[in-house]
Each structure stands twice: as C-alpha cells, then as structure tokens.
Symmetry: C3
Subunit: 355 residues, 3 copies
C-alpha cells in the first residue's frame, strides 16, 4: 500500500524534477517536487538496504545504509565549498549530526517504542559508539574551537588539518576493528539468535537487484538534492529564515531522509541494532569522515575550511552527544527516550531558527 | 524521642512565628524561629509522606514528597517575580537544583552509607532520571544561555517560552510514562520483594490522617517561608552575605528542609528507591516544571524572566548533573559517594559565598 | 634481554648524568642522557613495584606505583614554584593529567589489546574512579576557573585554598574508603581468583630488595629530573617549542615514564586492574593531592598559585576525563579503545604545540 504511494512518488517525482529544473518552473513548486521525490526515493533506498541487510547481516547492512545516506551530503558539500560557502557547510555538518543523533534516533526510539514496550540493542556496540562520539565531538571538534581563540588563522588551519588526518585514520581503524579484529566478538546471544532468525527471513529483492536499485536511487537523490540546494536561498527569503537555519535544519531533514525512512522502518520491525547503527553510525561517518575529508578537500579551493564551528553549533552538538550517550548506554530504548531526543531537537531547532 | 522534640518545635514554633510576625519582633529572632519551625514542620511532612508512601507504594510516595517540597518554592518564587526579583528567583532555582542533587542526595548516601555498606536502588529509574537531568540542565538550560549571547532580548524571551513549553510537555510525558505506560515495567525482583515486604509494614497514620497532616504542615511551611524570605535582606546585611548567596544557599537549604528530612529518613531505613526519588525527582520537578512555569508566569508581570542563568549558576548546575549521573548510574551508593556529593556542594557554596 | 639493555642504560646513564652535569657538557647531549637514564631507571621502578605488588596485592601495589611516579613531579614543581614559574607548574599538572589519562592508559589498552582480544578490569573500581575524576576535574578545577572571571585576585586565592583543602580531605577519605571501610567489598570473583593465582606467582625480588631498589631508583630519577628541567628552556629554543608545550607534553612524558613502563608491563601480562590503577590512580593523585598541595605550598613563596588553569588546559582536561569515563566505565578494554585515547592525546599535543 505505502509502497505503491512511494512508487508513484518516484516515477512521477523524478521525471517532474528533471523537466521542472530544465524548464525553470517557479522555485516554490520545484522545492516541493524535490522534497517529495527525495522522500519517495528514500523508501526505495530503505527497502534495497533492508534486502541487502538480510543478505549481508545487520552490521554491513547498517554501514551500507549510512554510507549511501552520506554520499549525498558529501557531494553537496563539495559543491558548496567550491562556491566558498564555508559557513553553510559547517552548518549542514552540524545539522546532520543533530539530525541523525536526535531526530533519526529519536523517531526510531519513539515509533518503535509505541509498538514494543522495551527494545534492546547490542550494548557493546552502543558503548563503542559512545566512545567514538565523545572522541569526535567532545575532543576533535571542541579542541580546535577553544585553541583557535588564541591562535592566528594559519595555525588554526594547521591544527584543523592535523585533527582531520587523525579523525580519518581513527575512522578507518574503527572499521578495521569492527569488521576484522573484533568481528562478532561482542555479539550477544540474543543478537546471534536474531541474526540466525534473520536468515529465515526472505529479502524483498535479490542481492544484485537491490544493489542496482540502491545505486540508481542514490544517483537520483544526489541529482535532485543538488538542485534542491539552489532553491534554499529563495525559500529562505520567502519564509524569512536565515541561511544558518536552512543549513542546520532543512538540509539535515531532507539530506537524511534516507536514514530517517530506513531507521524508523527497522525500529518498527524491532531490529534496533540496525536502527541505532544507522542513526549513530551515520553521525560518526559525518563527524569522523565527511567533515575531515571536506577540510582536506577545501585546501584545493580558494576558501579553506578550518574545523571551527560557531559556538551555538558546537554547544548544540556537545549537548546532543552527552544526551545520546546517557540515553543509549544501557542498550535499551522506549518511546519516552525517543520523545526526549526529539524534544531536544525541537529546542535546538527553535534556537537556530531565532539566531 | 526525636518525634517529641519536633512536636514541641511545631506547637511552640508555629504560634510564635505568627505572633512574632504580627508584633514585629527583631528580625534576627524571627529568622531563627522561622527556620526552626520549618525544620520541625518538615518532620511532620516526612512522617506523613512516609505513611502515605507505605499505603500508595514507593513511586507515588516519592512523587508526593517532591511535590509538597516544591509547592513552597513555587509560591515564594511567584511572589518574588511579582516584586521583580528575577535574579533572586534564578538563584534560588539554581540553589534548589544544587541542594537537591548534591546536598539531599549526598547526605542520604552518606548517612545511609554509615549504616549499610552498599545500598542499592533501581538502576532503571536511575538511568531514566539521568536522561532527564541531561535533557533539562545540559540541553534546555545550556542552549538558551549560549544562543542568547548572539540574540536580542525579545528573541531570547521567545526562545525561553518555547523551551519552557517543551519542558512542561516532556515533564507531563515523563509522568505518563512512569505511571501509565511503563508502570512496574522496570521493577527489579528486589524492589518487588521490598514492595511486598512494605505491605506488611504498618503506616504510622491512616491515609486520610496523613493527607490532612501533610496539607496543614504544607500550608504552615508556606506561610512561614514567605515571612522568612523578607528577613533575608536584613540577615544578608548583618552577616555580610550577598543576595546571590542567600538565594543559592540559604533558600535552598531551608526551602528543601522537607526533602532533606525525609530523604535521609528513607536512606537510614535502606529505602534508597524513595530517597533517590526525592532528591533527583525534586531536582527534575524544579528544572522541568517549576522553572518553566515561572518563566510563563512572569509574562503576566512587568519584569519577564528569560531562562538565562548567570554563567557561574549554569556551570555549577552542569557539573553537578555530570557528577550525579556518573555516581548514581550503577544503582548503588555508599558513604564515600555521599561525601563526594557533599564536598562538591561545599565547593560551590564557597564559590557563591565569595562571588 | 630488554632487562639487560635497561641495566646498561642505568649503569652507564646515571654516572654519565652526574659527570655531565658537573662538567657542563652541551645541553643537547645532557638532555638526551637524562631522558634515556630516566627511562632505564623507570624499568627498575616498574620491576620493583611489580615485585612489591605480588607481595602486597594489586591495590597497594598500584598505589605505591602512583606514589613513586608522582613524588618526582611534586619535587620538581616545588622548585619551580619557588622560582615563581606558576604557569609552568599549572602546565605540567595539566600535562600529567593528560599524559596519565590518555597516553599511559591508552598505550596500556592498545599494547595489552594487541595480545588479548578483551581485557577486563574491576568495574566497581572503574566507576569509583570515574566519580573522583568528575569531582576533581569537572567540579574542583572548573568551578574556580568560571567563578574567578567575576572575582578579584584575593577572592580567587581564597576560593583556591578552600577547594584545595576539600580536595586533600576527600583524597584522604578515598584512601580510607578503599583501604579500610570497603576493602575487598567490590572485589569480583574473577579478581579474587586472579589475586589467589597471584600468590602462586614468584616475585622477581624479595620485599626488602624491591623496596631498596625502588627507593634508590626514585632518588636517582628525582636528581636527574631536576637537572633535566633546567635544559628545557634551551631545548625549547633550539626546537622552536613554547614553554607551554614543554610543560604539557615533554615534562608529562618524561615525568611519567615510570607509570608508562609499569602500566604497559602490567597490561601485557593482562593485569589490567593494576594498569588502570596506575594510570587513573596517578591522575587522581595529581589532581586531588599534588595540585592542591602545591597551591598550599605556594602560600609560603612570593608568587601564589591559584587553582586557575588557562582555558585550553582546562578544556583539554575536561574532555579527556569525559572520554576516559565513557571508555572505562564498562570495565573492559581493547586495542581500539587504547588507540582512541592515544589519538586524543595527539590532538591535544598538536594543539599545545601550535599554541
């Protein structure tokens, strides 16, 4: 039923996006078409990922998901950097962190929790992720902020480059840890049973069909997203929003639509391991991979991007991480914990709206 | 024995308070009478609450307790707001948070721990409370502080109103979660056994007698507290204290005497679930209910109150929450953990005294 | 094999240090000799401590270790204070906290984790230590920083003295808790088994031989360290380093060589209880004993030392504590957690280098 609506959305939305862009339809109309198309495409990405997840196991499935969600953001950000919009890139990185950590995880916990009283996820993974969140946000993002207050610009950039290289190296080490040296070491009896049960589940699509759908949908999302970005300035003016608000809130919601769709889908099916992996894994990919890669990329362009956020952006990320760490550290969720995360997102949304 | 002393304190102190107030006795004398009367009355409130707790179960008992403790503070604060004393109200909110989190919990852990080597409380409740403390203090209090630095006053007030509504909504949702959808879900076998054992315990007073004593004592405490507040300015001058110190330290100690008395009472009886519920529950009620209600109330008065604390107040609350979260998160306490909390309170007390 | 190298290092390095100092050899040569001698001596301290640890049990062994490591720093700092170098003392305190918490613990976790997939340590001790880290750094160090912004100098010093006395009192209370009232209370079955197994292990040296070696090595380290400090100014100039970098990074690495050596040694033998006790216990001794003792000592000298770090120093310590608390709180470690801590140390190292 819902699948049919999304199919219609895709097969009407994508062609309309292409035609509308070429024919320069009114910006407000394009904005609406773009958003709906991306949400429709996201459902395909979610279903394709789920099929792959059944085939490949929960961990690789979650990683794939986070990767495809953030490829879009990486492409958009590189184009923005090329145009010198450093502030917008930092704002949308902040927005992705807040969006994944508070909104994606929050909605998953909330909607999943309406159906199940207590939902469990691998407590070892949760703690592993907590350590990385602390490292990425509270060490690697906070230090350049504070130290840059007493540094000149070239030194701040040097510090940013050093931290970026360390972030990427540790991100790769984390993958090596998860996939090679400690693969399955922290698997609980429960999640093993779930994994075993998962084998009996039939994937909607075969491996290759799923991969092809995932690739095509990703390309389509990327194409539409890029056009979407160019409508933001006009939309902001029409609604009286600041560009910071667009970057932090709108880019994050639309850019993470794929994660939203598939994380909530997994939560409703009580596959919390995957839902959390999508939300937190995506946050970590943004903070430990996309952000430092963008810092290094910016060296090729005229305007360099130091790893220095504005104070409101930084504090919003730090308090989100502390909240998420405390809420997720027991390896359990319920509707109220989800609501708490969503409420924190709303508080920050109001803040960035008024800023 | 002690009960007789408190009975004397009440039946001598309360009439003396009324007569002394009407006859304008010297302020220093009144101050002493007021304080002793409140402490005596608090013992009645503690015993009445305990009787009710035995009848109604530990959770409702704890909630009742926190409610009656903070009703007093809400009334005092509304009168202060009417008089335009926004700074004093924010200081006394800070003081209540610090007092409940560090002094009430600290003394409970310490004195309880002198009698019992290890005291346990429900770890699920502790984690639930940790999430809420993080949300209330580190998200909802920190965000307006940081964002207001780059905002004008009307926007700061709008942000404060938005956050206040979200805080109250989440507080009500938390009650709904605890009392309706997840009532007893996280009850451990131990606490069920304790609850079962509790049924055999005889309450000191019957349900209605306890309620009537609780109501009358609350009214008396409210009446005396209000008069007590008017002596603060004089007392501050006599002792060379600042009004900030009065707000943060003195109001908190006297205003939370009821919580102190009953939390320590519970700790000595090894009913740590109730002791923690009183200390942390009371903190949460202050932060998520009393503070936002006061922000909304202030809109009716000439001087509006934004949810923006001074930096020392905010940092004191943030570090208290982080300390409490780490100390309580294992669901166990001992005398040393109590001493650590009390030591933190002393550090902040010295700080506010010198400020 | 390695023992022979260290023996050579000691019996050649120490005499050379004495002769070189007396004969005023070139500073760069002395610097190298001093560093190598200390590292060689540290191995003796490590082996002596290990022998004592086997005799005295893991806890006392860990305490002894931390004590001997920090005696050196206390002596150096007192001489620095006498010379009025308050900034260098605060920097080297920061460096010791960062070095022990991130580098010593990080290398122990990393190198131990290369050999063992999962290493466990007493989770109760880890949580006890987490509470103390929070108290010492996030309460006792943060409060004077923030409050001093709105205070004059004499008040800041009064606050520092008050906090110092509370820190020392709580440190002594913590020892009383660990060694008297709660000795063995939190011992897990595993660590008891390990302790029992430990009794079968043969110490390298007898009790008195170990104590004598420990004492002589400590004296030699102290003598060489003091001379080493006087080479720092020259070395800094030669390499273009700031004195802050010397204080935070170089002093910490060389000054904590003993802890490094013995903690890693213990980790490789899978005695994580001792390794963690060395790293975190040493941090706590610096923060709760060495730092406040130095504040009180400075009252005798012309230049008083308030407990007020620079903002970069404070933020570096706070984020290190938060990272360590999250990583150690589950009572387990692996190579990746070690690498995360070391990566955080590098980020801070780059920061202080550029500052």
């Amino acid at each position: 039923m819902t699948n049919k609506i999304f199919m219609l959305g895709t097969f009407i939305g994508v062609p309309l996006s292409v035609i509308g862009t070429l024919m320069h339809w009114p910006t407000m109309v394009l904005f609406t078409i773009y958003c709906l198309s991306i949400i429709a495409l996201a459902s395909y990405m979610g279903r394709a990922t789920e099929s792959l997840a059944i085939v490949a196991g929960p961990r690789i499935g979650g990683l794939l998901n986070a990767t495809f969600g953030n490829a879009v953001e990486l492409i958009i950000s590189i184009f923005s950097l090329k145009a010198g919009l450093v502030g917008v890139v930092l704002a949308s990185l902040t927005g992705s962190v807040l969006g994944n950590l508070l909104l994606v995880a929050g909605l998953s916990f909330f909607i999943g929790g309406l159906k199940f009283k207590r939902q469990k996820f691998n407590v070892h993974d949760a703690r592993h992720n907590s350590g990385l969140l602390m490292f990425a946000i509270i060490v690697a993002f906070v230090i350049p902020e504070v130290f840059s207050m007493e540094m000149n610009e070239p030194k701040t950039l040097t510090l940013s480059i050093g931290i970026s290289i360390i972030l990427i190296a540790l991100y790769l080490a984390a993958l090596f840890f998860k996939l090679v040296t400690h693969r399955g070491v922290y698997q609980s009896a429960e999640s093993e049973a779930a994994a075993a049960a998962g084998h009996h589940e039939q994937p909607e699509w075969g491996k290759w069909k799923a991969i092809i759908i995932l690739l095509i949908a990703t390309l389509a999302v990327a194409y539409i997203s890029e056009n979407l970005v160019h409508t933001f300035h006009y939309v902001a003016e029409s609604f009286g929003w600041t560009e910071l608000f667009i970057g932090v809130i709108i880019v994050a919601i639309v850019g993470n639509a794929a994660e939203h769709a598939s994380a909530v889908l997994m939560a409703v099916k009580n596959k919390m391991d995957i839902a959390v992996e999508i939300a937190v894994g995506s946050t970590l990919q943004i903070a430990m991979f996309v952000a430092p890669v963008l810092v290094l990329f910016s060296l090729m362009f005229e305007t360099k991007m130091p790893l220095v956020f504005t104070l409101p952006e930084l504090i919003a990320m730090v308090s989100s991480v502390l909240l998420m760490v405390i809420i997720s550290n027991d390896g359990e969720s319920n509707w109220f914990e989800g609501l708490t995360l969503v409420a924190a997102y709303f508080i920050m949304g109001i803040g960035f709206f008024l800023l």
